[in-house]
Point group: C2
Chain length 410, copies 2
């Protein structure tokens, strides 16, 4: 359909929405960056931003003087009015909940942590989280009157009640079952909930200078989990189980896994498996601190065990990378910060596996930027990344007058 | 943004476009199916379709009497006016080009095949294809005046000139380099071009009674290729190489592969590898006909070789399925129609690998519906599937007056 006359106002409003959406998703940026992101000419963009600035919808946040490379006059960076909206990220771990609140410019304005017992039921966990949020708001003088969305990370697979995860709750008045619905009921905003490892994968993809479209993420922890970003979207799979790299058979006929199979990646590359592997070869390590000490000392047996782990990990990641052709493979978990040789060795195995794929830009293999304590940032990532993430979800129900509810502004 | 007054006409036009897009993508369907697809109430939908019928934009194609399950009055099936547009699917093989032309109701109205030499340059192949298309149109009285789009499958990886494949050519006036641009230049329509194995994956996902959202496809042929559909979209990967399952290491330390590695799946499960594996164990097979004879005869050695192939294939597919959690795994290539035991055995290996994934609906593992000769249907699938497939592609360039070209009607 080519544009016909009379649609000028509509085109202009569409442009404004694209500019606002770009600032909402990307935080503060210069007119040049904005122009690139939204695909408008500099001239058209300047008209749009002038009008938005005049109406107070956006503000000049700062200039890019601090980060500017090269010479030239620093450019103004535009942002949504920081007071115009907040985002709430919540990460439920096995033993604590972590909360961060960001403003419309994506700056963290409050953050906190509260423990609960490993066995605490979800009713208790929710209460702890709500109290923590209330306390943070009081202490920091934050008023959540313009809350835009809530992102929630939970441990374990999260498939929702028959829904394809991550679930998106559009109607807070629906029956309050499930974590997402509890938050939707309390805050009256859209909620995105998903497994926290999967959200970490998304966070690794978007918290980069240039967002990464295709990324394979694995996290080595008490277990081994993972997440995939394909074409800029988090992959859930048909039933919400995508990214379960920990239970790919890495070593047929290997050790018994808690999942019931043998030789899963988790039996080789989880933290307990790595420590047990060291002990089996005489390296006396009980925990990650001991492992860090052995690595610092340059213990050659520990080094050999860690390299074997990296090679096995790299083979499993290699199969995933051959299928998915990602830009990046990211390995997370505190253990890879303690023992970076795991990442080096996995990278070598990956390089071999991908030998036959021509690459003018080779695959990046790196350890995670976000640490295990940064889970709530992953939950924030889900809502910052909203529009592409949510684009595949069902449209909200039609209201009675035949108009559809729009979701374009959040 | 909630709807404000004055937007009623816009809402209505949006609804009409959604109905037309659903019929364009899905072919003829009843009002009930349409209502489900576009998310409009039956009442609103009936108003929209009444208006479209009255204006001749759609027609009553038939009723669902033939396919209706249960009792009740047969429902009318609505479709775009078949004369209102055509779709052209072209599959370039190593030795022939295959063309199909479908009408707006997705019925095939012409199909043909023309050989060329294995060494023929692309200029020759293009000429053969254009002549074939012209000949088909003349012979069948087809006039391509309302051609909507062209889908093109090509052998080998297709990454386009630096673009993320499949390439979408929006501007036929651009320099005529590349197969897609040659077609765009000749027909003046959008063109989608991609590797034909990848398009076959998409075709397997969408030519089902209920389109499959997540599918892993592998084809056993002279080589082994594959394709992935994730969340209803064909996966290209960061550089256009997604789906290269043939070069996952299946057998570390195995036979030399043409890619330079050892033990790739292709060294085990390509047709030449399967035949060589049979011969190495004394089964005298030179080609698929010989293999078919051995299978028919119940040759136990051939059966053992084929089961080993299936197990290895199942392990590689299992790793991909663990990462992606698909609804279906589809195995294509003539050899699996000759030797279905490969699929049975791969399914058994997959079931074990996915043991730890809870599944109320188990993974479907099946052989391909489309045969190797159906490549042009894969190319058609790409264009029928247009809107979700193309949604992730860059917006067309802005025109000088600040309006953007719309792509909503194709």
């Amino acid at each position: 359909m080519s544009m016909t006359t009379g649609t000028h106002a509509l085109v202009r409003r569409t442009h404004e929405e694209r500019v606002l959406a770009a600032l909402r998703a990307g935080g503060a940026m210069s007119r040049g960056e904005l122009s690139k992101r939204v695909g408008l000419s500099r001239t058209t963009l300047s008209e749009i931003t002038a009008s938005l600035l005049q109406r107070g919808a956006i503000v000049v946040a700062d200039t890019d003087a601090a980060t500017r490379s090269g010479s030239g006059r620093p450019a103004e960076r535009l942002a949504l009015d920081p007071a115009s909206g907040q985002f709430l990220g919540v990460d439920f771990g096995h033993r604590r909940v972590h909360v961060v609140i960001a403003d419309a410019a994506h700056e963290i304005i409050a953050a906190g942590l509260e423990p609960y017992h490993n066995d605490a039921p979800w009713s208790v966990r929710l209460g702890v989280a709500f109290d923590l949020i209330d306390g943070l708001c009081t202490a920091r003088g934050v008023h959540l009157g313009a809350l835009q969305a809530v992102g929630i990370g939970v441990p374990g697979p999260y498939t929702g009640a028959g829904a394809r995860g991550p679930r998106v709750t559009w109607r807070p008045q629906a029956a309050p079952e499930g974590v997402d619905l509890a938050f939707a009921g309390r805050f009256g905003t859209p909620v995105v909930a998903d497994n926290n490892t999967r959200l970490a994968a998304l966070a690794e993809a978007i918290y980069e200078p240039e967002p990464v479209s295709d990324l394979v993420y694995v996290r080595l922890s008490d277990g081994v989990g993972g997440g995939l970003v394909v074409a800029g979207r988090l992959v859930t799979g048909a039933r919400g189980y995508a990214g379960e790299l920990g239970h790919v058979t890495a070593n047929p006929g290997g050790s018994q896994c808690r999942c019931g199979k043998r030789g899963c990646l988790e039996t080789v590359a989880s933290v307990p498996a790595i420590l047990a592997g060291c002990r089996a070869r005489g390296v006396d390590v009980e925990n990650l601190d001991d492992l860090a000490a052995a690595v610092t000392k340059g213990d050659p047996v520990a080094d050999a065990v860690l390299r074997d782990v990296g090679t096995t990990l790299g083979r499993v990641l290699g199969a995933a990378a051959m299928a998915l052709n990602p830009n990046e493979v990211v390995i997370g978990g505190e253990v890879v910060h303690v023992a970076p040789v795991i990442v080096e060795q996995a990278a070598a195995a990956l390089r071999y596996e991908l030998y036959s794929i021509p690459a003018e830009k080779p695959l990046v293999v790196r350890r995670s930027q976000l640490r295990d304590s940064d889970g709530a940032l992953g939950a924030l990532a889900a809502i910052f990344h909203q529009s592409p993430l949510l684009a595949g979800y069902p449209e909200p129900a039609e209201s009675d007058d035949g108009a559809t509810q729009q979701r374009s502004t959040w």
